[in-house]
């Protein structure tokens, strides 16, 4: 069993599903001969042919729009949007069509579509290459939104996303693509959607995060541990629908919660989690919930991006603040 990184795990899962189910097709810009700008689809066109691994013209509206037509006619398209900053032209098809086809036809037609897209900052990429659009998608009824944070979860969750009978947005944190390696068996075992993963148990506070920010979040948990503070770390993984029970249960034990995400703060997904705690977990809160997030500013170009991204220091400071309260 080989140690692979997250982008290789994506590749492995795609290959597995292409081999398993001939209805699976991939489409997107530069995913063929080039193997994707991040190499997520490397080798797949050679292996499965240009009919099933389709280099499209440059048009995101049509990439998602045609994928919807394919999905409704029995294919299992996995569309790649090269960077999530280029997902916006496809929002109309996602919100008005992919998310509604089943509902609008009372189940007559379905839309088993996966849209994969790299997201997040931290790799010194050019403008528009570092977006975090998950809240916009999570706000949309009818969409599932998934973000892996390790090679194993990328493999297992992507299998689940492709096999799911409904549309799934699969956001891949670029900063994690090559951050670390892990043993991943190509055993075709999907991980469950719609559940959080508790990465580390703890008793003093709960840290909730997803995607690449789990890197800093875990580092913060380490830093806190060094001071004798025990932090539970939860990877939300499926951002919509949200597995609130797992988070509530944890906060019921710890009484304190820090939510960490890279996207802008206002109406981000952290707001949803904090709001749910204020509604359903108020009596277990020993301290105000803290959000450590990207600012409500435009993601800056690379020289300032690490001043925008939540740092370990900011997470630790927020954790301290919740621990000091009452």
């Amino acid at each position: 069993m080989a140690e692979i990184n997250l982008v290789e795990a994506v590749n492995l899962a795609l290959a597995h599903e292409l081999a398993r189910d001939e209805a699976v097709v991939l489409l997107g810009e530069d995913i063929g001969a080039n193997g994707g700008v991040f190499r997520a689809t490397a080798g797949l066109q050679q292996r499965f042919g240009a009919g099933r691994v389709v280099d499209t013209p440059l048009a995101e509206t049509a990439i998602v729009g045609t994928a919807i037509g394919m999905a409704a006619m029995g294919l299992r398209p996995v569309a790649e949007i090269q960077f999530s900053g280029f997902l916006y032209p496809a929002i109309d098809h996602l919100v008005n069509h992919a998310a509604r086809l089943r509902n609008r036809t009372r189940g007559r037609l379905a839309c088993p579509l996966v849209v994969r897209t790299p997201c997040g900052g931290g790799i010194h990429a050019p403008e528009h290459h570092s977006e975090s659009p998950e809240a916009m998608l999570a706000h949309t009824p009818g969409l599932r939104v998934v973000m892996p944070s390790s090679p194993a979860r990328a493999y297992g969750l992507l299998l689940a996303a492709i096999r799911d009978p409904d549309p799934v947005m699969f956001l891949e944190p670029t900063r994690m693509y090559r951050l670390f390696r892990q043993e991943v068996a190509d055993d075709g075992e999907a991980l469950p959607l719609d559940v959080c993963f508790t990465l580390r148990g703890g008793t003093d506070l709960t840290l909730v995060s997803w995607g690449a920010m789990l890197h800093e979040t875990q580092a913060a948990a380490d830093a806190l541990a060094a001071e004798g503070i025990s932090a539970e770390v939860i990877d939300v993984a499926t951002l919509k629908p949200l597995d609130l029970p797992t988070i509530l249960e944890s906060v019921a034990r710890t009484g304190r919660c820090v939510i960490v995400h890279e996207a802008a703060r206002t109406a981000g997904l952290g707001a949803e989690i904090a709001a749910s705690l204020a509604e359903e977990g108020l009596y277990s809160l020993l301290a105000p919930v803290q959000r450590v997030t990207g600012y409500d500013t435009v993601m800056p170009l690379s020289r300032l991006e690490y001043q925008y991204l939540p740092s370990v220091e900011r997470i630790v400071a927020a954790a301290r603040k919740t621990l000091e309260a009452s």
Partner: protein
């Protein structure tokens, strides 16, 4: 300077506005067994239209978009399709939908504000009405790709309007289908208006068919009020599509004789005299005159058909009005294949408060 590419756009018409042949006709156009069903479908469409407007006026239907004057396009094209093809309509193509087997009561349910109207009993793989203009071109291109990939001899047929031809989705979808040589037929019903915006303000082009040139596919213009011409070009385009020849764009030139929808008042922006004039080109009279000349039609048949259509439509209205109201739970039942656990509490809340607000009648006035 050298010329590196040349293009032209042809216009097809077989019958003049009085139904006189302008030259030799295609075989089917002399065969009443082929033509009469199409005439009947056009007639039924018009009967349905009139009834739907009446229902809306009396508060029994929501906003409705009539196909008055455009019946030849939907009927001519859909009659050239095979059952296994797939239709991607806009919101104004019930002419095509009726031919495809969509029931009038289904259409009424949809316009009455009930999603069950899109759960067609027949035409199970046709797309439902598409309101976001132009988006259906992409869906149809994707469907056509699926057919081609699986080696099926099926085609995707998509309808949009002159307004829709300004939308990026239209160009992008056609371009994808062209690159893929996918079996797609795009029918552009140019009824001269996009609500209040006239064709001249929509595009500076001489024709809309020439937009096909931007994708490198064949674009043809046809008299959209001449059923024979529409059916002919649609048959050719579909045969080409099934043979691997790629997409075609048909611009069917017609005129919207009614308001945009029941929520619109076209007298605010167009001259009723012009509309009156356009009635002399309308498609039913034209085809009827031709059928009469073929000896295949006459006043008795016309009366019988009128009666029959009235009965069909009335029965459908009955079926529509006696449909039990949608359940509150329906909001949740079809959102996903399986309701996610996270939504259960919301469903419960909706059910808890349902009795107080349920039982609304169809009807409305905007769009």
């Amino acid at each position: 300077m050298s010329t590196v590419a040349r293009f032209h756009i042809d216009h097809t018409r077989f019958l003049d506005p009085q139904g006189e042949p302008l030259g030799p006709l295609p075989d089917f156009a002399c065969d009443p067994a082929r033509l009469v069903p199409m005439y009947r479908a056009m007639y039924l469409t018009r009967s349905f239209d009139a009834k739907a407007i009446a229902l809306q006026r009396t508060g029994k239907l929501g906003t409705f978009a009539s196909a008055l004057g455009q019946e030849a396009i939907g009927v001519g094209v859909a009659s050239a399709m095979r059952p296994e093809d797939a239709l991607f309509p806009s919101y104004r193509e019930h002419a095509a939908q009726l031919v495809r087997g969509v029931r009038i009561e289904e259409s009424l349910r949809y316009w009455g504000g009930d999603e069950r109207g899109s759960d067609f009993a027949e035409a199970r793989h046709d797309f439902p009405n598409c309101v976001p203009i132009g988006t259906q071109v992409c869906h149809a291109a994707g469907a056509a790709y699926a057919f081609r990939l699986r080696g099926e001899a099926r085609a995707a047929v998509c309808f949009l309007g002159d307004g829709g031809s300004s939308k990026g989705d239209f160009y992008e979808g056609l371009n994808f289908a062209a690159v893929w040589k996918a079996p797609l037929l795009v029918v552009l019903s140019n009824n001269q208006w996009a609500i209040s915006v006239p064709r001249s303000a929509q595009s500076a082009t001489a024709t809309l068919a020439q937009k096909a040139i931007a994708a490198g596919v064949e674009g043809v213009q046809v008299d959209g009020n001449d059923l024979v011409a529409v059916h002919h070009v649609a048959r050719e385009a579909l045969a080409k599509a099934r043979a691997g020849g790629g997409p075609t764009l048909i611009e069917a030139v017609t005129y919207r004789l009614g308001d945009h929808t029941t929520a619109d008042d076209a007298s605010r922006y167009r001259d009723p005299a012009v509309v009156q004039e356009q009635w002399s080109f309308e498609p039913l009279t034209r085809l009827r005159n031709h059928l009469v000349k073929l000896g295949a039609w006459g006043p008795e048949k016309e009366e019988a058909l009128a009666r029959e259509c009235a009965e069909t439509v009335n029965a459908a209205v009955e079926a529509y009005l006696s449909t039990p109201p949608p359940t509150t739970a329906a909001m949740f039942d079809h959102l996903f294949a399986t309701l996610p656990a996270a939504l259960a509490a919301q469903r419960d809340e909706a059910l808890r408060f349902a009795p107080r607000t349920a039982g609304r009648q169809p009807g409305g006035d905007h769009g």
